[in-house]
């Protein structure tokens, strides 16, 4: 068993923190003490091993995911500023009646404007089937199927399919996996956006839409409408591990 003053000297030797006088004292001791020499050699060796540990490149997705994530609080802050301003305006009970009057006026005004501009058609539909289903307007995108991929990787099973029409795209995820699963859809270019989302089953989960993509957590049965974009990269993570990573083209 080595005394504490000696182990301290050895530790400081490894860190290159000894004075010349301490160096001399340690050298003298090492010359006659095999245990002390063994300790110095072992600690130097393990220090070298730790120094030589491989340096791993971080994933290329790390910085983009950080930059996307820091955009979220800014969006929320902007939303809360708007909410705060409206809240201030309608803060007192006395003003609630003004709020109703204001909202009613706004709705009426927008309807009149929409009718005037021909956005809303008044009157009977020119085309409808026997069941009364609305006609498909010429501006409504008709989605043409592009691809359907079967996924069967580890504990993730199901399909991902894409369809496209007039600048909009439909991506349908019907995946099953553990409750901690996450699906990240990154759109290319990032100016593309998610304009609609529909849950296809009743399971629990939530999602976050951010510029250039969406993250789904928990459930994985959704239909998403995307505007713009040439491709989408789908990354599925379950039980903390990446289970699927694939790119889908959104145009034929």
């Amino acid at each position: 068993m080595l005394e504490k003053s000696l182990t301290d000297l050895i530790n400081r030797k490894i860190d290159g923190a000894l004075t010349p006088e301490e160096e001399a004292r340690l050298a003298k001791r090492l010359a006659t003490d095999a245990n002390a020499r063994g300790l110095l050699d072992d600690l130097s060796h393990q220090g070298l091993l730790a120094q030589k540990m491989a340096v791993v490149e971080p994933p290329a997705t790390l910085k983009p995911s950080i930059m996307r994530a820091i955009e979220q609080p800014a969006l929320r802050a902007r939303r809360s500023w708007v909410a705060h301003s409206f809240g201030q305006f309608f803060s007192t009970r006395r003003r609630v009646q003004y709020a109703f009057a204001f909202s009613g006026g706004m709705v009426a005004g927008m309807l009149i404007l929409a009718v005037g501009l021909g956005i809303v058609r008044v009157g009977p539909h020119e085309e409808s089937d026997a069941a009364g289903t609305s006609i498909i307007e010429s501006s409504t995108p008709v989605f043409q199927p592009i691809e359907e991929r079967k996924i069967s990787l580890g504990d993730i099973q199901g399909t991902i399919s894409t369809a496209s029409g007039r600048g909009e795209h439909l991506i349908t995820l019907q995946l099953k996996g553990p409750g901690d699963s996450r699906v990240l859809l990154a759109l290319q270019p990032e100016t593309a956006e998610v304009t609609g989302i529909e849950n296809l089953d009743g399971s629990k989960g939530d999602y976050t839409v951010h510029p250039g993509g969406i993250e789904l957590r928990g459930r994985m049965a959704y239909r998403l409408v995307l505007r713009g974009g040439a491709s989408v990269r789908v990354t599925v993570t379950s039980s903390g591990k990446k289970s699927y990573d694939g790119e889908f083209l959104l145009e034929r």
């Binding site: 050699d41 130097s44 393990q46 730790a50 790390l62 950080i66 994530a69």
Partner: protein, 181 residues
């Protein structure tokens, strides 16, 4: 890039320039990711930790005390995130079992048997001791810098590091790793 340049990037970020924060991510993402990878020894967890670290740093940047170094503050956040991850994992499996799997080994990109034994020995160390050894030997930080990161005095860093090294040596000896072996 110097500490002064970090301060400039911090100030520009606080003034609303997100590209400046991107500069800080560029500079430190590799170090934070590798520190996390060595602490938790799982690539996906390390990626999550690195992301949470930078997002937290961004959201709390206004509370950053400029008398400290930015990287010390960032590393402290990263180590807290590692601790949270390890606490969550403790409920499921010990760290050394994660490493024992092929996936764990691949994640840590271990090059030799000795490196593998070192990773396993580090996994057996207590979290605080592991952080000290990694900050000193892998990161090459001084006692003062480690003290700033961990919020303890340089003197305390020295004594705890010495004891962490001795514990690591004991574990390595049990695995048959020693100098000139």
């Amino acid at each position: 890039m110097s500490d002064r340049e970090d301060q400039v990037l911090v100030s520009r970020t606080l003034a609303g320039d997100r590209n400046a924060f991107g500069g800080l991510v560029d500079k430190y993402q590799k170090a934070v990711f590798n520190l996390a990878l060595r602490m938790v020894q799982d690539r996906d967890d390390a990626e999550d930790i690195a992301q949470h670290t930078f997002v937290k740093a961004f959201s709390r940047l206004s509370s950053f005390n400029e008398s400290f170094r930015f990287f010390s503050w960032l590393y402290r956040i990263a180590l807290n995130e590692c601790a949270n991850c390890l606490n969550r994992r403790k409920r499921h499996e010990p760290l050394s079992e994660t490493l024992a799997s092929d996936e764990g080994r691949e994640a840590a990109e271990i090059e030799s048997d000795e490196q593998r034994f070192l990773q396993e020995a580090l996994a057996d160390l207590q979290e605080g001791d592991r952080a000290l050894v990694l900050l000193k030997h892998s990161e090459g930080r001084s006692y003062e810098e480690i003290g700033e990161i961990l919020g303890i005095s340089a003197q305390k860093v020295k004594s705890r590091l010495f004891s962490a090294r001795l514990k690591l040596r004991e574990i390595l000896l049990r695995k048959g790793v020693r100098a000139n072996a």
